[in-house]
């Protein structure tokens, strides 16, 4: 297998006495679209938050291109090439879409208080470069007509896209999408899935996503990791995940341990 670009090893997160993630390991291949799925409360978002430094790890490591990510302060993670979106939109309503997208450029720009206040040439140059990136990303996601609108007045679907666009403006190597199509109708989610695939081609991205929409996950992703109760119960190509009795049972609410015995039987017979 190729060297993974992003790798979680033995991730364990505890909240008080509750073990939210228990020894979770998986590897994301460069250039792939990798989905993390699981029933409600399986720990998918916790896993994202732990990987981006929001929750303290009780054990385990996260590596980005072989380098430790879990010791990096959270505001430096994006500089290592990892950008993310949030399940609940985190957008300052009063800013315009263009300003929100510029936020994605923050770590790639320098202009400080003085340069900005006095509109020094360096700050203006930076702003022009930013605006080029912002415009091209906005065009990909169909936001170009809304750049001057305050993000708070946009409908939900467009705000969701704005959040993804902001992460893309960071020009990351790995993009983490936390439920990108939640709240969208079928047509919208299919279209957005298509956009995500295009972005991957165009920017040479690796995408790691958490999603509930099975149809989208199965059609979009190259690899799927399934979590249940904070543990990895399956990690495979989507077509095999679809047939995995453990996964099917997990979604129907069975105890994975019982089904696992069943799976071994299937495997040995097969």
């Amino acid at each position: 297998m190729v060297e993974p670009i992003l790798q979680a090893e033995g991730l364990t997160v505890r909240f008080g006495g509750v073990v939210a993630l228990d020894d979770v390991s998986f590897a994301v291949a460069p250039g792939s679209i990798h989905a993390v799925i699981g029933p409600n409360g399986a720990g998918k978002s916790t896993c994202f938050n732990a990987m981006t430094g929001l929750y303290p790890l009780a054990a385990g490591t996260v590596r980005m291109s072989g380098e430790r990510l879990d010791r990096v302060p959270r505001h430096r993670i994006v500089r290592r090439g990892v950008a993310r979106t949030f399940q609940n939109l985190v957008l300052p309503d009063a800013l315009t879409v263009a300003d929100v997208l510029r936020l994605g450029r923050h770590h790639r720009t320098r202009a400080g208080l003085l340069a900005t206040a006095l509109a020094l040439p360096a700050a203006r140059r930076e702003r022009r470069t930013d605006d080029d990136v912002v415009r091209s990303v906005a065009e990909i996601l169909g936001l170009e007509g809304h750049l001057d609108d305050p993000v708070g007045v946009l409908p939900y679907g467009l705000r969701k896209k704005t959040e993804i666009a902001r992460a893309l403006c960071a020009e990351p190597e790995v993009l983490l999408l936390d439920e990108p199509v939640a709240g969208m109708n079928d047509a919208e989610s299919r279209a957005l899935g298509e956009r995500i695939r295009e972005c991957r081609e165009q920017f040479g991205l690796t995408v790691l996503l958490v999603e509930h929409d099975m149809e989208l996950v199965m059609s979009l992703s190259d690899h799927v990791t399934v979590l249940q109760s904070g543990r990895v119960i399956a990690d495979d190509r989507p077509e095999r995940i679809q047939q995995d009795p453990v996964v099917i049972a997990a979604y129907l609410g069975a105890d994975p341990a019982e089904v696992r015995d069943g799976r071994e039987e299937v495997v040995s017979r097969g």
Binding site: N49, L54, Y55, F86, Q87, N88, V90
Partner: protein, 296 residues
Amino acid sequence: MDSLLNALASGLSLGALYAVMALGFVVIYRATGVLNFAHGAFLLVGVYVASVVSESHGYLVGVVAGLLTGALVAVVAETVFLRNSRTHDHVTLTILTLGLNLLVVTEVSRRIGTETLPLRDPIGNDVVEIGAITMPTVRLIALVVAVLAITVFLLLFRFTSWGLAMRVSNQDGEVAALMGVRLSVVSWTSWAIGGALAVLSGLFLASFPTPGVTPALADTAFRAFPAAVIGGLGSVGGALVGGVMLGMVEAFAATYEGSLGGWAHNLSGISAWVLLLVVLLLRPQGLFSAKQVQRV
């Protein structure tokens, strides 16, 4: 040694009053997430009414009237102003209470004018002596009343559905709603309790050795801020400990500032704030507040 004991005693009684004040402040913060800058207004208007009513109807009626006024004004602040605001941003609502405070304090100050209104408590300027300790009788009573008030509050907090709602709603409005608790009721009762507790402490703070009710009394309520924040905003136990700590530090500063040289002149007046700065620099969340992890 005597001055040490006296500082302890007066610090304890002052601290108990600050704790009562801070308790009301924390109750309001827990219920609505607002830092109540109108605490001084509640205190001043209640004590002012107590003074006016006591002139015609006697001290006890005056006290009851004052406590009710404080509670009523607080409820009006919550139900009329905060609840009907279009914004739910806590920073903006906090500034709203600052405006309410200024409005009420300006009007009451105008009515008081330059006079010092007496409270007409029957104890007056009696002093008790217990061993080496000499303290105003009123301050001893204040200590007892404060401890009683705090006890009653803690019992309510622990054993009533209001208390349960208070404990939960701070963390999760939905859970509280599921338990059948009406948040609007919790919220206005909390303001009522906060207002009454402010007046209760104000009544004693305006008694001997303080000469009486002046507009400056409203500023005393500022003590509730460091007391509540030192303990950790939102922590009931923290408010109590913070209040007592403040009272102690202030009493000790008052006792010893004279012997510390020129730089310490009037140090007791700002000791609370210096303590606050030190605590927050070491622990930005206060002493007793659990470390908060943000959920996204």
